[in-house]
């Protein structure tokens, strides 16, 4: 498969009144044509910052991307692009959908126009044609009565319809990459499934690569080809779906999996939750960032950052437990079966 996005040594800091927050700490990963890559983690782990940085949507005044960082798309470093070149990529090559469709649509602009807008920017067509195509796009995302609805404003749409419209906007120019940042978090559970299904169908039709940013492993289970788990601004484990679900290596991944509700679970039994809070990224810990919350924490964990251990061609993990001197553990029970709980 062809690599279409290559991220190397991405480091992003935020300058705040309190100090410098190290939101993303030297991560590298690639995206391949037509695949769905899920970035999973708790809120504040840097997954949204990472995704926004790909489109250069971070506030320039506060967000500082390290000079050594590279985001290579189509042979060029996105981080170095200016004006027109950047404009060319945004919306046309890479598109994005946001978490809250309520606020992500311009309230004073007809939805049809909002969809048509990117077409007008990136293709040479008339306003009329663009609007027509926008209606087609809205039909494609399953918006009922798209011709009429295209003339309406976002406030006249339901939440699900808005997210469909967002998808229409994002896919209008048939981008090579779609970044979906928690696309269903703000929606009802029933709508969530519909939207995810829509994204998956369209992805298959348009052969778009997707970066799916989410905190919800349940969603990931049904969608992602590959998964990377982020914690405190770093990628701590990555692998193809099956590896991550059937053979997770990092205690944080274990904890994440255990906290997903399962169909088989008895309604009264309490859901697993991870104790403690993620570290303060103003002052990231010297050793493993997860050490403070880790049930299997060893002295070395607090002292030195763990190195990456390659498990397979596709799977790797950053954890001291992989060290040859580390005690051999039995993985906690209750991990298996998660994947079956979700409809694939």
């Amino acid at each position: 498969m062809k690599k279409i996005l290559d991220i190397k040594n991405l480091t992003i800091d935020f300058n705040t009144y309190a100090g410098r927050i190290q939101a993303v700490r030297n991560i590298s990963f690639s995206l391949y044509e037509g695949e769905i890559l899920a970035i999973v983690g708790e809120s504040g782990c840097g997954k949204t910052v990472t995704s926004k940085s790909i489109m250069r949507l971070l506030p320039e005044a506060t967000a500082q991307v390290n000079n050594h960082s590279e985001i290579i798309f189509d042979g060029q470093n996105v981080l170095k692009l200016k004006g027109k070149e950047l404009k060319k990529i945004r919306g046309d090559e890479i598109a994005m959908i946001f978490q809250d469709p309520m606020s992500a649509l311009n309230p004073t602009m007809k939805v049809g126009h909002q969809v048509a807008e990117s077409l007008l920017i990136h293709t040479k067509i008339t306003k009329k044609q663009a609007f027509k195509e926008a209606v087609q796009m809205l039909k494609l995302v399953g918006l009922p009565m798209a011709e009429k609805r295209a003339h309406e404003y976002p406030n006249q749409y339901s939440g699900g319809m808005r997210q469909r419209a967002m998808i229409a906007i994002a896919l209008a120019c048939k981008p090579k990459i779609l970044i979906a940042d928690e696309p269903t978090t703000a929606l009802d559970v029933t709508i969530q499934a519909q939207i995810m299904k829509l994204i998956k169908t369209l992805q298959a039709d348009l052969n778009t690569a997707i970066i799916l940013v989410t905190h919800d492993l349940g969603i990931v289970a049904g969608m992602a080809d590959r998964i990377q788990v982020m914690y405190a601004g770093q990628i701590i484990e990555r692998g193809v779906r099956e590896e991550l679900f059937y053979d997770p290596q990092h205690p944080y991944t274990w904890a994440l999996l255990r906290s997903v509700p399962k169909v088989s679970q008895k309604s009264k039994s309490q859901l697993y939750s991870i104790t403690g809070t993620p570290p303060d990224l103003l002052y990231p810990p010297k050793g493993c960032a997860f050490a403070e919350r880790c049930e299997y924490c060893m002295p070395i964990c607090r002292k030195d950052p763990p190195v990456e251990t390659i498990i397979s061609k596709t799977q790797s993990v950053n954890c001291w437990l992989q060290h040859k001197d580390a005690p051999k553990l039995n993985k906690p029970s209750g991990l298996k079966g998660v994947i079956h709980g979700q409809s694939l």
């Binding site: 949507l57 919306g91 598109a95 994005m96 946001f98 906007i169």
Partner: protein, 314 residues
């Protein structure tokens, strides 16, 4: 739509009726009558004659019904201080000067204020922003009468460029000259308010997700500012525009007094000090009608800009 309109219209008239009634009785509870405009007390006999001539000797409730009856026929009555002058004429005479000054001030103030506000928001934290905010603080903290007097001193007394005070009812160069200083004095505060409002509003909009959406689409520059930022930023500004539309006619007492402009505000305040009952009531009716109407207009304009609150759609 028509049902809504009717309901709205009815509540407008009801509000007006209640206000008139309250004001009618309230001003009578305050000590003093039109003769309090005299610097001295007068012999009982001439006072009695005056009250009888102007119907002030009748029971208050009778006076109220007489007044309401006349009002229903569109008759505001006659001034009790400027004897023989119909209220309608006094009001009609007072409106044009106020309107000229206030329209000038509003147009100048709102456009400048909005422009400065946008500039400040886009240059946030840089010197244009600091300058605009400095102007805004001055505009809010310097009372208009201080500015007015300062302007008079500078442009009339020192430089002798503009007439100190005065007014002419004929539009033209002379009227324009008379209107310059009051316009500046009045618009300064408006600029301050609108620049602050607009700055805050633009900054707020710039933080909205739909701006990210637009950027993610590749929208940039003028198109982003115009279609996505400004249109949404205008909404809060429109809310404060409402009372100001009414203010166009109602005018500003202080400025009108300092520059000798025979406008609505000046007339109203003197009516209150003079206890000119019919005059106070007449102007109260006009002011309230204007405010109620302007809020109505604002609702409509609001809807034009912001589809979320479009009241006539369904």
């Amino acid at each position: 739509m028509s049902k809504y309109m009717l309901k709205r219209l009815f509540s407008m008239f009801l509000t007006l009726f209640v206000v008139i009634t309250i004001v009618f009785f309230l001003i009578r509870m305050v000590p003093g009558d039109p003769l309090a405009s005299m610097a001295r007390n007068l012999p009982e006999q001439v006072k009695a004659n005056f009250y009888a001539e102007y119907g002030l000797d009748k029971p208050l409730i009778t006076q109220y019904f007489i007044y309401m009856k006349h009002l229903l026929h569109g008759d505001f009555g006659e001034s009790l201080v400027y004897l023989g002058q119909p209220i309608k004429e006094i009001i009609l005479r007072a409106i044009p000067p106020s309107m000229v000054i206030n329209i000038h001030a509003l147009l100048w103030g709102v456009t400048t204020g909005i422009g400065l506000g946008i500039l400040a928001a886009y240059k946030r934290g840089k010197w244009p922003d600091h300058l605009v905010m400095f102007i805004a603080i001055l505009g809010v903290s310097i009372p208009s009468f201080v500015l007015a007097t300062a302007l008079q001193y500078l442009f009339s007394v020192q430089l002798n460029w503009l007439p100190t005070i005065g007014w002419t009812s004929e539009p033209g160069m002379k009227q324009f000259k008379y209107s310059i200083m009051p316009t500046i004095a009045l618009s300064f505060g408006i600029i301050a308010v609108y620049s602050r409002y607009m700055r805050a509003s633009v900054l707020d909009v710039l933080n909205q997700d739909y701006i990210l959406t637009a950027k993610a689409k590749g929208v940039s520059g003028f198109s982003l500012a115009y279609k996505h930022v400004l249109r949404n930023s205008f909404i809060p500004a429109i809310t404060i525009l409402g009372p100001q539309i009414a203010g166009i006619i109602v005018g500003s007492f202080v400025i009108e007094s300092i520059f000798g402009i025979p406008g609505f505000g000046q007339v109203y305040v003197s009516a209150i000090t003079n206890r000119d009952f019919t005059q106070i009531l007449g102007q109260t009716v006009i002011i309230n009608a204007l405010y109620i109407f302007s809020l109505f207009v604002v609702d409509i304009v609001y809807g034009l800009v912001d589809p979320r609150i479009r009241v006539f759609n369904k």
